[in-house]
Symmetry: C2
Subunit: 210 residues, 2 copies
DNA sequence: GTCTATAAATGGATAGAC
DNA sequence: GTCTATCCATTTATAGAC
């Protein structure tokens, strides 16, 4: 039963953080929602930061898994597609992390370092994929352009949910269209593609918007 | 003297919000820093939200001023340059707004609507500039590409400071290089420029990075 | 306009019984 | 493992004197 409660605390915390934003969810709220006492919650976790840390570790693990690069062959457009899907779904499932990213990281040095590492990995991954496309002859861009675009890819991906939330203030639980975010990232790469692939991507992306 | 105190409260609040993040600065902290009593602060402003609202109004005004489009002629690359400078400097001066953007907006419907309006304006402005460049024959992009790029410009601009902060965790008050942010935005437009202007921009931007 | 004092509420966290 | 009770610190906000 111990394992059970410990796990349920994490699940409920995640759901509440995502729904209301981490700063607006207290340990008391979580215990209340679970129907357990605050004391019990503090038996299982040292403090709120501990809970956040555990959730963050799972988030990091899933992002890491999503960013493995196909080995033994050059990456193609479909690989980008799949990776973006996995990454965006992960960010959606743990959207509380990005909602108050700077504030959360400011309170915990370890998370700060780990998150910087995630961004570095994402950006490096984008560079690798674009180099692969260049080597395959379907993308043309200078080293500087690749570097700058990789940064923009990581940035747009990391903050798309925030951008969408503030640009289209929605009532409460309305679902978000992750496809739009993926599309925006794709559009960062598109202008560097050979005409044929650019068109191919544009039709793919166009269909994706509805 | 009343006017004085009222104004000083705003100035000090802004400085503290920027330095420590709005969630970490209480009305008591502000009064303390100013050497006045909490009661006095509440004489001048209804509550913390009121202070934030006043600061936000000034921010919005400055952004609006920065986004005026040159009239009577088509915009050129130098216009983008200037606009980006003004916008980034404004965002830097009021960086607390973006640091905890989603949380701040979630607490105040009016700010939410106003911020959505700012983003719309920024994005529309980017569309107008790109159309101008297209009309002048120095940019080539489809309507869809312009639309998507305009969104990405607004997004990268709005969250560049956050991205930079989490990517390069810096010790405290170290200055941020706004030029890098401007560069990243420029790189969103570059691939659509005619070869001559693309090179021109690349050298400009390259020099900009030191 | 400004102060002191304090109420009222909340959040984080612990002690000790069961 | 879990609960009740409670403490301590913080934060927002107000009352009333000067």
């Amino acid at each position: 039963m111990a394992r059970q409660t410990r796990e349920r605390i994490l699940e409920t915390s995640l759901a509440m953080f995502n729904a209301q934003g981490e700063p607006n969810v207290t340990t008391n709220h979580i215990a209340d929602e679970l129907g357990i006492s605050p004391g019990n919650l503090y038996y299982h976790y040292r403090n709120k930061d501990d809970i956040i840390g555990q959730l963050f570790a799972r988030y990091e693990q899933r992002i890491d898994d999503a960013l493995v690069v196909p080995d033994g062959r050059l990456p193609n457009l479909e690989d980008i597609w799949l990776q973006l899907h996995l990454v965006f779904e992960c960010m959606w499932d743990y959207r509380f992390v990005h909602r108050d990213l700077v504030d959360i990281l400011s309170r915990n040095r370890k998370l700060r370092l780990h998150y910087a590492r995630i961004l570095r990995r994402a950006s490096d991954n984008a560079v690798a994929v674009m180099r692969g496309l260049a080597a395959a002859g379907i993308l043309r861009a200078s080293a500087d352009e690749i570097r700058a675009t990789a940064d923009n890819i990581a940035l747009v991906a990391a903050f798309w949910l925030n951008y969408d939330a503030v640009r289209h203030p929605r009532q409460d639980g309305a679902a978000v269209d992750l496809g739009r975010g993926i599309h925006q990232v794709m559009m960062l790469v598109a202008p560097f593609l050979r005409d044929a692939e650019r068109l191919h991507l544009n039709t793919l992306a166009g269909a994706y918007l509805r």
